[in-house]
Symmetry: C2
Subunit: 338 residues, 2 copies
DNA sequence: TTGAAAGCGATACCAC
DNA sequence: GTGGTATCGCTTTCAA
């Protein structure tokens, strides 16, 4: 492999010292305009691109941030949140010379190990903490390692800088929408209880119903998966007194729910109204198109990246609140049947 | 941020020179068993983890490989191939101390720039070339930069080490399956023509039909997207003489096709049989469940990673052939209606 | 404003 | 078998 152009080559070409090259190319003061121009020209001619290796050793930064998907790699295939989230991260860090190091971790034990290695080996300058769980062990790890980290949608009082998008408002809108359609019997299909966002959504659902003086009705686990939605539909639709409206805690389980409801001969929304939560693209293409609460994974990723890079630079940052997720009414919700 | 323990600390602790520590910890010869033990013990006590930064500067390796998703970040949300592919890469490189650097690139021009930067900045030791296009400019770039690279599903004669999974066999099986069901009028929904895998699938489809002495029938573009499938259905089902069986070049467009067919009052498979290509998980959950050709993105990722790391180590490698993608018969294909 | 030189944390070569 | 030491490419003092 041929050796690349280094800062020495540029310095030689411009007839200056490498320290001047460094200063000039990093827009630091202490270089005359004339010298700077000469240097920039020389760098351009030579096609100089600073070596990330060299600068990270000297500068004590790796210029990369880490994201660990701490579930089976298959979630990347099925969970559309990550696509948007990663896209948002990219759009911020790319321009700043940072790269995203992605890890997937099949088993929970490996997750901890990953964070430890990333931090100790100084492979990344900071990490994103997504899909937070109750008493998430990662918090202690990053704190112990003094590794900059940003939390995604944690509960209030989370000890690290965080990005949040309010879910309560959107869920309240769902309930109001369903109430206005005349629904009186409801059910909720939730996510795994160890996830904070599962709890948040269920609590918001309960609270919203309560504010309308409505009984919560059955609450079953949909596991955030398509299959979970299938199962939930079986369980909910088998009851003697069926709900006329169901909210699923994410779009994927809502898709499963609808498919199974249709399979069992129910019409959506004529027999039963169904909503999801997330706002994945696919939902808009379904028949019926899925009414849902649209979140902003891309924006969340963008803001999280901003916070993380600031934290890495040693700045103290405030938490960020993304505008609330809001109701998107499509075709899977309609007037109560009876 | 507290300074980490370095190789110097370990050397001091064990009372030896850093060079011995380096040799001992990397299982290189030239260290007595006794010394090695002392060093390993010292390293363990101190919790020493070698700095990737230091070793990459000295060792001329970054211990990371790059993947550029050279389309809009949204594809990560909609295209399930990446999840499995990335998971496969991870499962190989993780154990070898490598990390995956992921880039998304909204605009085509930026793609080239990305590769150039990754290579010139020596941020990665090698890259994956996926979704190859006809006369793909990336090939020249990596060759010019002497950047190790591995191609995914290229045509024969591709100048770089590659991983291929045969598509022809699976597609032939689709045709045979449909013919055995009595179908005589066919249509094909293809992908964007600049992609090599689009062409490969269409050619295989044509070849298979020819081998059964059947006319190809209409071939329309489904853009590999759900919406493209929707549009393709509109176009194909509006014809006076409709096909009774349709193959879509990927699952996503097949899903769109089915949804739109149903929307227009056609029953799948009673009125029209539909198959996809990819074998995404979601396909199994649809109603009707999607008949398709199952590929192995995870295995492809794994093997591609293996090739890439070998190439990086300077070994010359042979191309890898994954066992062919094969037909999965589910519910979206049935006997010809008339 | 400029340049010389000291690290950063490893690897690798070369004497001893 | 061992321990110095040059080296990788850059950032960052600190003199001049």
């Amino acid at each position: 492999m041929p050796d690349r152009v280094t800062i020495n080559d540029v310095a030689a070409r411009a007839g200056v010292a490498i320290s001047s090259v460094s200063s000039a190319l990093n827009d630091r003061p202490g270089v005359s305009e004339a010298t700077r121009k000469k240097i920039v020209a020389a760098a351009a001619e030579l096609g100089f691109v600073p070596s990330v290796r060299g600068r990270s050793l000297a500068g004590k930064k790796t210029f990369s941030v880490g994201l660990v998907v701490h579930r089976d790699p298959d979630v990347l295939e099925m969970d559309p949140f990550f696509g948007g989230f990663i896209g948002g991260i990219e759009s911020y860090i790319d321009e700043r010379g940072f790269a995203l190091v992605l890890h997937t971790s099949p088993s929970p034990e490996q997750v901890i190990d990953r964070y430890r290695k990333m931090a100790a080996g100084r492979r990344v300058d900071g990490v994103f903490l997504n899909e937070l769980e109750v008493d998430d062990p990662r918090v202690e790890i990053v704190q112990g390692l003094a590794l900059p980290a940003v939390g995604i949608n944690p509960d209030p009082g989370f000890p690290l800088p965080s990005v949040r998008q309010d879910h309560a408002e959107g869920i309240r809108q769902v309930v109001q929408h369903l109430v206005e359609l005349g629904h009186e019997r409801f059910a909720f299909v939730g996510g795994p209880e160890q996830f904070i966002h599962s709890r948040q959504r269920e609590l918001a659902w309960r609270a919203a119903l309560t504010s309308f003086d409505i009984e919560p009705g059955p609450i079953v686990d949909g596991r955030f998966t398509y299959e979970g939605g299938l199962d939930a539909a079986d369980s909910i639709l088998a009851a003697r007194i069926r709900p006329t409206a169901v909210m699923c805690a994410n779009d994927l389980s809502a898709m499963g729910f609808i498919a199974q409801a249709q399979h069992r001969g129910f019409s959506v929304p004529a027999d039963i109204s169904v909503t999801g939560y997330d706002g994945i693209q696919l939902g808009g293409y379904l028949r019926p198109a899925l009414s849902t609460v649209r979140t902003s994974p891309k924006l969340i990723g963008f803001e999280a990246a901003r916070l993380l890079l600031s934290t890495i630079d040693g700045e103290s940052v405030d938490d960020v609140d993304i505008p609330p997720a809001t109701l998107v009414v499509r075709d899977s919700t309609g007037p109560a049947s009876s």
